[in-house]
Amino acid sequence: MNRRLAQLTLWLYPMAFRRRYGEELRALLEDAPPRMLAVLDLLRGAILAHLRPTAAGGTLVDPSDRLRASASGQLACWVAFAAAGFGFYKTTEDEPFAAAGHAHHLLGGTYLAVQGLAVLASAAVILGALPLILVALARARAEPRLRRLISLPPLAVLVFAGLTRVLLLLAHPEPADHTSTVGGIAFIIWSVAGLVCGAVCVVAARAALFAVAVPRWRLLAAYACGTLVTVAMAAITLAAMLYAIALFADASSLAASGNGPFQLVSVGVSLIVQLVVMALTATLAATSTRRGWRAVTLD
């Protein structure tokens, strides 16, 4: 059990580190079966390897693979960021929030900025991904493995859409009422399914990107779009933060009102959690972008 967990933890290390030391680490885990402490030590090592990458092994990664890793890292961060962003939207979509936005300029302005930047970032994601998707589709005819990989994301989205429909029917006649038991449970199942769907899309997209030969300019274009998305993520986080501050200052009764399934937490707490996720994923995206830049300048 621990050995399996340790092997999985190895995947959390940066690609350069895995390529340089991965096989040796696997051999070490075979020689000395790991205990739980060793698994935690590996986890700590993986975090440190991301925070303080060493020069050893860095040159072993092909610049194109580095760009692939950066672009897929940016996509993964965007998906997690979008989940938090959707939470932000659901938290602040009701009429009282719109009224408060009209009454207070900072609230209205930052809300509008979040929406505008989200549209811009989504467009950049599509613009960056489209040329890569076209290449993958063209190659998929000849490669069954690639065909399976690129069919996974649409399949996951279809399953998610089907589940959404079923949950909406179950939660009828008040599908938007998260305070009812059925509505609350349906919302939790839906949220978890959404996260799983996002994870499947990210993992399959990353595997497909590494499995297909892509012209360098397309990778650079995807990386440039990813960089734009990263900047948008940072700007959205800032705007959402200002929105939250303005809400606490100008509409404290709204910030204190109940939110989420079964009204377990307040709007204020929900916003803080969403902001933490946004800030974390924006930071990770910035780290991934910085590493991709190294590949661009090295080549």
Partner: protein, 112 residues
């Protein structure tokens, strides 16, 4: 409070994974598992796999150790000449501190 930090820094220095790995390799080339066993025998410290390979990657990137050809998925490492010099310097410093500390303790205990 000051005592705590001084003792902790001494403790950290003598159990620093990088120093322990260099000391282990002073005997000759070793691969990951052999280093772990030797360090545990040497100091009582069991290096976790993440800590060990974190130290190995840092030492390799600084040119203090170098990798030898892989033997059955296990890659031995050996000290470089820079690594040997750095280890000798560090151990001499530790030896000087230890000797001075022991001398001072002896004098203090002999004084009524």
């Amino acid at each position: 409070m000051c005592y705590y930090y001084v003792m902790r820094s001494i403790g950290e220095r003598s159990t620093d994974p990088a120093l322990l790995v260099l000391t282990s390799l002073a005997e000759g080339p070793k691969h990951g598992y052999a280093i772990t066993v030797d360090v545990e025998h040497l100091s009582g410290v069991r290096l976790g796999p993440g800590t060990l390979y974190g130290a190995l990657s840092r030492l390799e990137s600084r040119g203090l150790i170098e990798a030898l050809p892989t033997e059955d998925r296990r890659r031995p490492y050996r000290l470089t000449s820079t690594g040997s010099a750095a280890l000798a310097q560090e151990l001499k410093t530790l030896e000087r501190v230890a000797r001075s500390g022991l001398d001072r303790l002896r004098v203090a205990q002999a004084t009524p």
